[in-house]
């Protein structure tokens, strides 16, 4: 564990402190877990209006070179070649066992690909990209002079349109370059809360001014990592290192939707990524385990690590909760976890062991909250 004084700071660290945030170590960075509003109200505000998140700890990577899309397809099972300019797509790096090494966003920004990767996986991802792509003449550049903000919620569009009306033209997963407050921003209409919203990459030097300008809008509140976690959990979105990792495959994680036909069996560019045989065979034949949504019956949250049992009296757990807590919008505890595929049907009754007691829990459809994306 890194000492507190070794933690990296995002360019907005001073702003978080000025806003009264409680700062915690996260993926090697000192980050705001909550502001004075508190996790519950920050969560609800994001679903009702708009929330501003500092996600500058995430890795922003630019790939350039002839055949960059084909080259990147050697690491991810998604269709990068067919990703149109000005569009973005969810992806993941796989390993030779078909496990997931990180999940990421890939944007086609014309003369280059722009990737956003998890903070905790930045070094591993860069090593993987460099090893595979540099020999093919692709340059891999980690952008350390750019900040990343996310503005999320049903009022994100009207808020951001006050700074540049052109953002209203964007659809879910569009990416473009637009000025905001004088700074050249790379904007995508996306996020990780299940709400409509934007992610804004900008020169680090411009970040505090833009953040302050957005926060000056009464519709916007600063939102910490606590609410970011409950928002993404209600939206049924995976958190790397918890719901997905090197030991979980795309089929088990129920992320098959992210693998387009062209990369599947009998597709024009079938396979060609690490672990392709296993990943593609599981997509056709099913995986033994499956990620599911879980709704505990009572009010007690079932947190990460809670063992799941098929019957109240069974000796051996059949699965485990990988993310769990209270869902402020649902108004009840919610969780995700892995269970055998045979027990993954909605409404299947299972038992979770909390503090030595077996409590009933029901397999539920994901997401828990309907998405607000502007398609």
């Amino acid at each position: 564990m890194a000492e507190v004084d070794e933690l990296q700071h995002t360019v907005l660290n001073g702003l978080h402190r000025a806003l009264g945030a409680k700062m915690v170590p996260f993926a090697g960075y000192e980050m705001p877990v909550q502001y004075p509003l508190g996790v519950m109200k920050e969560h609800l505000h994001t679903r009702d209006a708009a929330g501003l998140f500092d996600v500058s700890h995430m890795g922003q990577v630019v790939l350039r070179g002839d055949g960059v899309a084909e080259a990147l397809e050697s690491l991810v099972p998604v269709d990068v070649v067919g990703l149109p300019e000005g569009r973005q797509r969810y992806a993941f790096f796989t390993n030779d066992d078909g496990g997931i090494e990180d999940d990421l966003m890939i944007a086609n920004r014309g003369d280059h690909l722009f990737l956003v990767v998890n903070a905790a996986r930045k070094d591993a991802d860069l090593a993987r990209l460099r090893a595979a792509l540099e020999p093919r003449g692709i340059t891999v550049e980690l952008l350390e002079d750019r900040a990343l903000l996310a503005l999320q919620g049903p009022q994100a569009e009207t808020v951001l349109a006050d700074h540049n009306p052109d953002v209203a033209e964007m659809r879910f997963m569009d990416v473009t370059t637009l000025p905001l407050g004088g700074a050249e921003c790379w904007i995508s209409r996306s996020g990780y809360t299940g709400e409509d919203g934007f992610e804004i990459s900008m020169p680090a030097a411009a970040a505090e001014d833009l953040a302050r300008a957005l926060l000056a809008d009464e519709r916007v509140e600063a939102i910490g990592l606590g609410a970011r976690d409950s928002l993404r959990l209600e939206a049924g979105l995976c958190l790397y290192g918890h719901d997905i990792d090197g030991g979980t495959t795309p089929a088990a994680a129920r992320l098959g939707w992210a693998i387009q036909k062209v990369r599947r069996r009998d597709g024009d560019r079938e396979g060609g990524f690490p672990g392709a045989d296993l990943v593609l065979s599981e997509l056709e034949n099913g995986a033994a385990m499956a990620r599911v949504g879980l709704r505990p019956d009572g009010r007690a949250p079932m947190r990460e690590g809670t063992p799941l049992f098929e019957a109240e009296e069974s000796d051996t757990p059949v699965g485990e909760v990988t993310s769990g807590g209270f869902g402020p919008t649902v108004g009840a505890p919610v969780a995700m976890g892995y269970v055998p595929a045979t027990l993954a049907t909605a409404d299947t009754r299972l038992w979770g062991e909390v503090r030595g007691r077996r409590l009933p829990v029901t397999v539920a459809k994901l997401p828990f909250v309907a998405p607000g994306f502007k398609r």
Binding site: M40, G226, A300, P333
Partner: protein, 121 residues
């Protein structure tokens, strides 16, 4: 009102019955409370028994019995509405009432000034 290092407050009433809750400082540190589990009325408890489970949006914590005694009443209102713990921790959102042998067991606990010093207020 007396205080423990576990951030409980104890308020002695009639018939050796002591009302117990958590301090405003503790509620603030916990964050939004979403779940409370209280002991059953009639339970005999020993000091430092884990008798209450409280879960916030962040994590689960235990609350220990501050003294020996018998649980004579619990506050079901905070089970039904855990957010009351954040709204009025030192008032309406008391946790349980415990009957002790002798109120002198409270003598060793901190008074308000000592507790404020303890939390560095």
């Amino acid at each position: 009102m007396k205080f423990t290092e576990e951030h409980e407050w104890l308020d002695a009433g009639d018939d050796n019955v002591v009302t117990v809750g958590i301090t405003a400082h503790a509620a603030e540190q916990l964050g939004d409370v979403v779940f409370v589990e209280l002991p059953e009325v009639g339970t005999e408890v020993v000091k430092d028994d884990e008798i209450v489970v409280i879960e916030s949006v962040k994590a689960a914590s235990d609350i220990l019995a501050p003294v020996d005694g018998e649980i004579v009443e619990v506050n079901d209102a905070i089970v039904d509405e855990p957010s009351k713990v954040n709204e009025d921790p030192e008032g309406d959102a008391w946790f349980f009432r415990i009957k002790v042998e002798d109120l002198s067991v409270l003598d060793d606990l901190m008074d308000e000034a000592a507790y404020k010093k303890f939390i560095g207020d």
